[in-house]
């Protein structure tokens, strides 16, 4: 079983998945998020992948099933609730139960003990949390690469080697910045940022700031409800429709971390982040916090980023 998952809404507690991080795809769908386009390509073309789990959380992910229709691989779309209240938690828990049944039916394989997997995810996220707290003393590039490596292997196979190898090096830097965006498939951008003397001291990325210390606290209740509660209650994605809560949390954190600027990375045609940016930018302007917006064409795009980052660093 090698299932490619897209987004942090696909809970690793149910079964092993490989987190999609980037792919050289065909990119032939116009006005469509390059990241989602590349995900479709990998599911269709990569023979080492035998299944896909993805959310319905934005317009690009919403129509993925239409493009995967010809594939005989396992496919499951999780309808991520547009809200985070108790009804939504109950509804999402139902979907997680259905997801498990669907996987077991397709692969003719019984999935293991969920509580055991919960503990493994908790442990991993706490380790990420421990490094997140010392971002100003480690290389952010090493940190994100280690997380991506961690997400690309099966949970039970992971010994957290990559994460544990991160060293506290107290790198020198000129300015402290805060990073905002969706899954950062292309970590070369970070190399450019750090190369310009900018230190990323905090972020709201789905693979970092949003999952660090995100744990299932107790699963005495229905285990699916517990996972659902965790996924829907942690730091929010813009697809969960509460921009004010996102901005208020992030701004508090960036002030606490003394961030001097913000780098906002989004995929072209990623509407949730485009809408969020329009509100975010105004808020940061009010607070006199400079912001650089990098809009990337796909999961590998780097064009123009270097020059823009250099220019931004000069303004700080």
């Amino acid at each position: 079983m090698k299932i490619l998952s897209m987004s942090g809404f696909v809970p690793e507690e149910i079964c092993d998945t490989v987190r999609f991080s980037g792919y050289t795809g065909e990119r032939n769908i116009t006005h469509f998020c390059g990241y989602a386009n590349d995900f479709i390509s990998q599911v269709m073309l990569d023979d080492s992948i035998d299944g896909a789990i993805f959310p319905r959380s934005c317009d690009s992910t919403r129509i993925i099933p239409s493009y995967l229709k010809g594939s005989s691989k396992f496919q499951y779309q999780l309808k991520v609730p547009a809200r985070s209240d108790d009804y939504a938690i109950e509804y999402f828990a139902m979907q997680l139960k259905q997801l498990r049944v669907a996987i077991e039916e397709y692969y003719h394989e019984e999935l293991g003990d969920i509580s055991n997997r919960i503990e493994m995810v908790n442990c991993r996220n706490e380790i990420i949390g421990s490094y997140y707290e010392k971002l100003d003393r480690i290389s952010y590039k090493d940190y994100i690469d280690a997380i991506h490596e961690e997400l690309s292997v099966a949970l039970h196979e992971s010994k957290h080697d990559e994460l544990n190898r991160i060293e506290v090096t107290n790198p020198t830097y000129k300015h402290r910045v805060y990073l905002i965006g969706s899954f950062l498939a292309n970590t070369d951008i970070i190399r450019k940022i750090e190369g310009c003397g900018l230190k990323i001291v905090g972020d709201n990325l789905p693979e970092s700031g949003r999952i660090q210390n995100s744990i299932v606290e107790s699963f005495d209740e229905d285990v699916y409800a517990a996972i659902s509660r965790k996924v829907l209650s942690r730091r929010l994605s813009p697809t969960q429709n509460n921009f004010s809560k996102i901005i208020s949390f992030d701004v508090n954190e960036m002030c606490k971390l003394h961030a001097e600027g913000v780098i906002f990375v989004s995929q072209k045609y990623c509407e949730p982040y485009d809408y969020l940016y329009s509100v975010y930018k105004k808020k940061l302007d009010e607070l006199h916090i400079p912001v650089l917006h990098l809009s990337l064409s796909n999961s590998e795009d780097l064009s123009k980023a270097k020059l823009m980052i250099e220019a931004f660093a000069d303004t700080l």
Binding site: K69, N241, F243, P272, D274, Y277
Partner: protein
């Protein structure tokens, strides 16, 4: 007869626009105001005497009034990229400049959006919520993949919560009987509209009229006069001559071009006649059920754009078959990803044309002409 149709249309439109700044002359609404997306269960609002307005429809009016370019430019100045849905960009420009062909929309007391059409609308409503600092309600409709009983419970709980929220806002008690009456108005409007659009296939009518007149089903479906209006229109259209122009019958898949005076590129379609369109069926909501809760669930959980590709294919195939179309024009709309997959699996020859329903600069008319010429060669 025509005059009576005109009178009802005028009355409905006058009622709808009376608090827009151009006509209100400083007068403020006597009721609470909601801004809603096109598939919000407005029957609940109507039953609670709340005024509701559709920014999407107003964006269409803006484009029809040739004002969209200046407002799209303003949207960019407000940091909202025009890669986003043009409805939202147009309105962002409009609310920022406090200007539009009919002035400003009345200020909202509450914002309500649904995801049974697309996921863009809730995101757009978030930026409106930031601007106006009023409560935002997002209604989440699971669609058909989720077990019906679970989906029903989830949707009903949200509708119940919406009612409680509106009771607080209006400081008045919700009356279930009133809702039942309003829903039957909507049912009648849908039925009457279905009779109107039946005529497109055989009668000498311009699709422009239907693209425009569906507006009453969108903005006034639960008003009593809407069914009356459509009944009159259906009766009038049925008496029209049968069409015998020998043009190629074509099915239009996608939005009308709101900026175009005919709502479609009539100048290059002289060999074609539009005999069907999926857009004009989107608000044919199915209010089946034993009580108001079930009716609203069925109507709003199973909207066309909230269906699976498989069900959409089946519905679209049926519509195309009934229309007698020999080919289709499928619009790849920059502003609507959810719609352009609708036409993926149709069985008649089709041509894809890239457009935006609001931004006229998107259409390459020469390219479209070539595409339509090519389409002709595939039809026997």
């Amino acid at each position: 007869m025509a005059q009576t149709i005109g009178k009802i249309q005028t009355r409905l439109m006058r009622e709808y626009y009376k608090y827009f700044s151009k006509y209100a002359k400083g007068k403020t609404p006597e009721s609470k105001v909601a801004w809603v997306t096109s598939f919000v269960p407005v029957e609940i609002l109507e039953a609670m005497d709340i005024l509701y307005y559709y920014p999407e429809s107003y964006a269409a009016v803006i484009a029809a009034s040739e004002r969209e370019q200046e407002l799209l430019a303003e949207s960019e100045r407000q940091f909202l990229t025009t890669d986003c849905c043009s409805y939202s960009c147009c309105i962002e420009g409009c609310v920022s400049l406090e200007d539009g062909p009919r002035g400003k929309l009345p200020k909202p007391d509450i914002l309500i959006a649904t995801n049974n059409q697309c996921n863009t609308l809730p995101a757009w409503w978030n930026i409106l919520a930031e601007r106006y600092n009023v409560p935002l309600v997002i209604l989440d409709y699971p669609g058909e993949d989720m077990e019906k009983e679970i989906a029903y419970r989830y949707v009903k709980s949200q509708h119940d919560d919406l009612i409680s929220e509106l009771e607080k806002l209006t400081e008045s008690k919700f009356e279930p009987e009133k809702l039942a009456n309003v829903i039957s108005n909507s049912e009648r409007s849908v039925k009457a509209w279905q009779n109107v659009i039946l005529n497109l296939r055989t009668k000498d009518i311009k699709p422009t009229m239907l693209f425009d007149d569906i507006n009453y089903l969108i903005t006034a479906r639960c008003k009593e006069q809407t069914a009356e209006l459509y009944d009159m229109m259906a009766s009038e259209l049925s008496q029209k001559e049968e069409i015998t122009d020998g043009k190629i019958p074509v099915f239009w898949i996608g939005y009308p071009l709101w900026y175009h005076q005919d709502r479609f590129f009539s100048e290059i379609m002289y060999d074609y006649r539009i005999v069907g369109s999926n857009y004009i069926t989107w608000w044919n909501l199915d209010y089946s059920g034993n009580n108001s809760s079930e009716k609203l669930f069925n109507a709003y959980n199973y909207t066309f754009l909230n269906l699976s590709q498989k069900t959409r294919n089946a519905r679209l195939s049926k519509l195309i078959k009934e229309s007698g179309a020999k080919c289709a024009i499928s619009l790849r709309n920059k502003s609507c990803k959810c719609d352009f997959v609708s036409a993926k699996d149709i069985s008649i020859p089709k041509s894809e044309i890239e457009i935006d329903m609001i931004d006229r600069s998107f259409l390459d008319i020469e390219k479209a002409t070539g595409v339509l010429e090519l389409l002709k060669t595939t039809i026997h």
